[in-house]
Every structure is written in structure tokens, then in C-alpha cells.
């Protein structure tokens, strides 16, 4: 089964949040968990990026691409990128992969490739 990253749609006003928050930023609806999970789209454009050379201790690679992407539904997300020559504004596609191994825990997140 393909894995997904979810955004959260307010059941009252329809505002979509990523990441999750307990109260809607748009309508302030104060009912707990009144959100519908919606899978994040897998296409978008690259807003900004960096190559990080000073990595947290559990990453055993020399460098790591990080990016912020605007997805086709307007939601912005942070993720890793594996693009050789990234440029802001370029079209990307996202995959859900293991992004961090922390002891025995494997964390899944969004990884961006050239579209």
C-alpha cells in the first residue's frame, strides 16, 4: 500500500492545514479533531532549497538536500530533495520515503525529485 502524508481539512470551513493543529487557523472552530485527513498532492513547484553540510548526528551522509515546495493545492511543505541542479520555480514530484532513521525508529516523509 502506498504511504501518504496527510493535510487536515477543517470540517466546518474547509481550510486545509499542514501540519496538523488542533484548532482551525481560519475559523477558530474549537471542537477537538474536527478535521478530515486529505492526502497531500505529489506534484508542485520548488519555492526554496538548501544543501546542508553540517548534519544532525544520526544522518550518515556527507550532505542533505532540503526544500520547501508549493504543492498543486496551494499547501506548502518542507521535505528532502534529491535534485542535482535545483532551481527555484522548477516543477517537482514528491515520493513518501524513509527520511530519518533514529535508533530503531524509521520516519517517513516527503522526498522531492525533478518532475
Amino acid at each position: 500500500m502506498p504511504r501518504d502524508i496527510y493535510a487536515y481539512k477543517c470540517r466546518k470551513c474547509g481550510h486545509v492545514h499542514y501540519p496538523y493543529r488542533m484548532v482551525c487557523k481560519n475559523c477558530g472552530e474549537n471542537e477537538h479533531n474536527e478535521f478530515e485527513p486529505v492526502p497531500l498532492p505529489k506534484e508542485g513547484t520548488l519555492l526554496t532549497f538548501t544543501t546542508l553540510y553540517s548534519l544532525p548526528p544520526d544522518f550518515e551522509v556527507p550532505s542533505l538536500g532540503l526544500a520547501i515546495v508549493a504543492l498543486t493545492n496551494g499547501i506548502t511543505v518542507t521535505g528532502q530533495h534529491r535534485i542535482d541542479e535545483p532551481e527555484t520555480g522548477m516543477a517537482i514530484r514528491g515520493e513518501v520515503e524513509i527520511v530519518r532513521r533514529d535508533g530503531y525508529d524509521e520516519h517517513y516523509g516527503m522526498v522531492f525529485y525533478k518532475a
Binding site: 501540519p19 526554496t48 532549497f49 553540517s54 544522518f59 532540503l66 518542507t78 516523509g109
Partner: protein
């Protein structure tokens, strides 16, 4: 309810460097200096600013350790953790205690001991303030958030790596005049940008940010003592008033901001501090801004209202933010040169401003400085405290 005026009656600081002392002593030493400076040991309450004692130094409940180390028991004491803005938050809390009439004299001390672990672990400790699911799992660190922000700012406003290097040179060389600063190493644009060795001297940490664009990881402490007008009147020191406080927050995850080149929390916190102080940005003679990364000094100088949006780097080019310029920024060396023991930084900023407004800053004195301003930036701009100070006599 009327609020009372609040004055700074004592200041103290440690060297910012690697300190082989317990965290509680790093917090207590500047407190002893500040009590000596104020000429009093009558303290009603202690606030201790610290971010990583529990995680890095295995010391929780720091305030209880500090109040006892100083033999100030049974005065009340609490630890205040607000990320890299812990210092500013603690000063603001002390201000509220005196302004409300609850206490007459409060001590606000801040300390951090980050060099107990290696640089990578220290960076990872600071990265725990990022969003756990949407940022931290990807390996996001503060330098990487600053780098992605810098790239946008470069594309939108024409800021270049040379502007960033100019901030690094200005602040690191300013630190040569500050005996408490972490970095006492003169640098030049030639050495960190133009020479063939520049890529070796100054490699990328998170492209486009290089090694010399990032503040060092430091140990250190700083303290201020706040008092009511009546208590301040008994101290024979130049009178500096904490005239306005402001604080604002922004989204936890940086990618959620509507305009990713805005630092809205800085803009709002600064405007609030100015309004409460009855001042405008044009009144300020000297400012300490939170240059954890060189880009932040440029952008904060705009968001605080000192220069129009997108023109901070032009003011830098004209030399307006250097000692002797129109608005000297970070004459202490800033976080870049003085160092950044996270919980102590907000207090070190206040220390410098009070030192300047008293006219006691020696070689780095800003001439006739009467109004000072600090911006303490927590998270990546998601929790910001700004403070305005005036010299009263």
C-alpha cells in the same frame, strides 16, 4: 490598572567561550557581578533564562540551583525556557513583576552551557525547537531554515553573499573591542570571500550560508537587575529605564508563512515595544539585533523599522550600521562575534544596551547614546521579544 516604571540597576556578564563550570555557576557569576554593580543583595525574586539545561547538562530546575548557589533563599525563583528568546522572555517577565507592583527588585539571569556536547549535538539540540513532524524528521536545523530563507531574500531583494560577508566582518571585528566576546579573530572580505582559499576558510554550512555566516556555539551567562523607581533611586548608578516591551509569535513550521520573506513576529514585537515606550525607530541610537545568521541582522533591521523592507543591505553598504554610523547595530559583536549561549543571549543584548546608555562602553561606545533597542529572536522567527531602553538622567 496603572503600571509602574521599571529601571535597570545592575548588570553582569561572563566571558562567552567554552566554560568548564557547572551551569548553575555560569548563571550565578554574572548575578554576583550585577549585585555588585547595583550595590545591593536585596533581591525579591529571581528569573533564570535557560533553554537546554535539562537536555544538554542534565540540570533541570535550574532556578532552584541558582538561588541557592547565590544564598538568596528564600526568594522566589523560576526557570524560563522560551528557546533562543528565553533571555528576552525572562526580562519581560521581570518587567511585569516590577511594573505590576508584585516585586520591587528582581534579578533576571540567563545561562547556557552548550559546549558540554560536540557542535553537531549542540546544533541538533537547538533543532529540537523545529516542528517535530513537519521539519525535524527531515534533518532540518536552524542553519538550514536560515539558508532557505536567505535564498528567497537574495532572489527578491538582491542581497548577495558579499552583503552577508560584510555583516560577518563588521560584527566579528567589532567583537575585538569586547573583552567578553567569544571570537577574537580579525577577519576580512578577502579571507572569507574573495581569495582562492576562501572556500577552504569559509565553506558552505547550508548553501548559500557559509561557516562565517553562522554564530559560534558558546557557553556563557549574563544578568540584569530590574527595580521600581523608588528602589532605583537608592542606587547611585546612571538611570536606565526599560521603557517598552513587545512580544509576538508566528507559525511553528516556517513553510506555513504566507510571505516566506517576512519575519512578521519581529515586525509586531518591535512595533509593540516602540508603542509602549512612546518611541519610534528613528529615535534609536544603538541596537542589538539577533544575528544568529548574518542574514537576520539585515532583515531584522528592516522589520524593526530602522530601514525600509528590502533596503537593510543598502544601509549596511553605506556603513550606517557600523560603529560611527547613523544606527550602530551589534557593536558588542552581536551573536556572531560575542557568541550565542542561547538562554543568555537576550540578557547579553540588554547588558550591552545598558552599558552603552550609561556611557561606560569604552572603545566601542556609541557617542551620546540615549535610546537603545534589542531584538531577541526565538525559533526561526516564531517567538520574538523586543525591548526599548532610555537613559533618564
Amino acid at each position: 490598572m496603572t503600571m509602574r516604571d521599571v529601571y535597570v540597576i545592575g548588570i553582569g556578564i561572563t566571558s562567552f567561550t567554552r566554560l568548564e563550570f557547572p551551569l548553575s555557576e555560569i548563571a550565578a557569576y554574572p548575578a554576583m557581578m550585577a549585585m555588585k554593580d547595583a550595590g545591593t543583595r536585596e533581591i525579591d525574586h529571581l528569573y533564570v533564562a535557560n533553554m537546554g539545561g535539562g537536555r544538554v547538562n542534565h540540570q533541570t530546575g535550574l532556578a532552584s540551583a541558582v538561588v541557592d548557589t547565590l544564598s538568596l533563599t528564600p526568594a522566589g525563583a523560576e526557570t524560563i525556557e522560551n528557546g533562543p528568546a528565553s533571555g528576552g522572555s525572562a526580562v519581560k517577565t521581570g518587567y511585569m513583576a516590577v511594573a505590576s507592583g508584585l516585586h520591587d527588585v528582581v534579578m533576571v539571569t540567563g545561562a547556557e552551557r552548550m559546549r558540554e556536547v560536540n557542535n553537531l549535538d549542540a546544533t541538533d539540540f537547538v533543532a529540537t525547537l523545529t516542528h517535530p513532524i513537519a521539519e525535524h524528521i527531515y534533518g532540518v536545523t536552524l542553519p538550514s531554515l536560515a539558508a532557505m530563507f536567505t535564498r528567497l531574500y537574495m532572489e527578491k531583494y538582491g542581497v548577495t553573499e558579499r552583503h552577508l560577508a560584510m555583516v560577518a566582518v563588521k560584527n566579528q571585528n567589532a567583537a575585538l573591542l569586547n573583552e567578553f566576546a567569544h571570537l577574537h579573530q580579525k577577519i576580512s572580505i578577502e579571507g572569507i570571500l574573495d581569495s582562492p582559499e576562501a572556500m577552504t576558510n569559509n565553506p558552505y554550512v547550508a548553501e548559500p550560508l557559509r561557516f562565517f555566516d553562522c554564530c559560534p556555539v558558546s557557553d556563557g551567562g549574563a544578568c540584569v537587575i530590574l527595580a521600581s523607581e523608588e528602589a532605583a533611586g537608592k542606587v547611585g548608578r546612571p538611570l536606565v529605564k526599560l521603557a517598552g516591551v513587545g512580544q509576538a509569535t508566528d507559525t511553528h513550521a516556517v513553510h506555513e508563512r504566507e510571505d516566506p520573506t517576512d519575519l512578521l513576529a519581529v515586525r509586531r514585537a518591535a512595533a509593540m515595544a516602540f508603542e509602549r515606550a512612546g518611541l519610534t525607530p528613528a529615535d534609536v541610537d544603538v541596537a542589538e539585533l539577533h544575528d544568529a545568521f548574518t542574514i537576520l541582522e539585515i532583515v531584522e533591521s528592516e522589520e524593526c523599522g530602522f530601514f525600509p523592507k528590502g533596503e537593510g543591505h543598502l544601509a549596511l553598504e553605506r556603513g550606517e550600521t557600523a560603529l560611527g554610523g547613523k544606527l550602530p547595530i551589534n557593536v558588542s559583536g552581536g551573536l556572531k562575534g560575542r557568541g550565542h549561549p542561547v538562554g543568555a543571549t537576550g540578557l547579553a543584548q540588554v547588558y550591552e544596551i545598558v552599558h552603552q546608555l550609561r556611557g561606560e562602553a569604552g572603545e566601542r561606545q556609541v557617542k551620546d547614546a540615549r535610546i537603545g533597542f534589542t531584538c531577541n529572536f526565538g525559533g526561526f522567527g516564531n517567538n520574538v521579544v523586543c525591548l526599548a531602553f532610555t537613559r533618564e538622567n
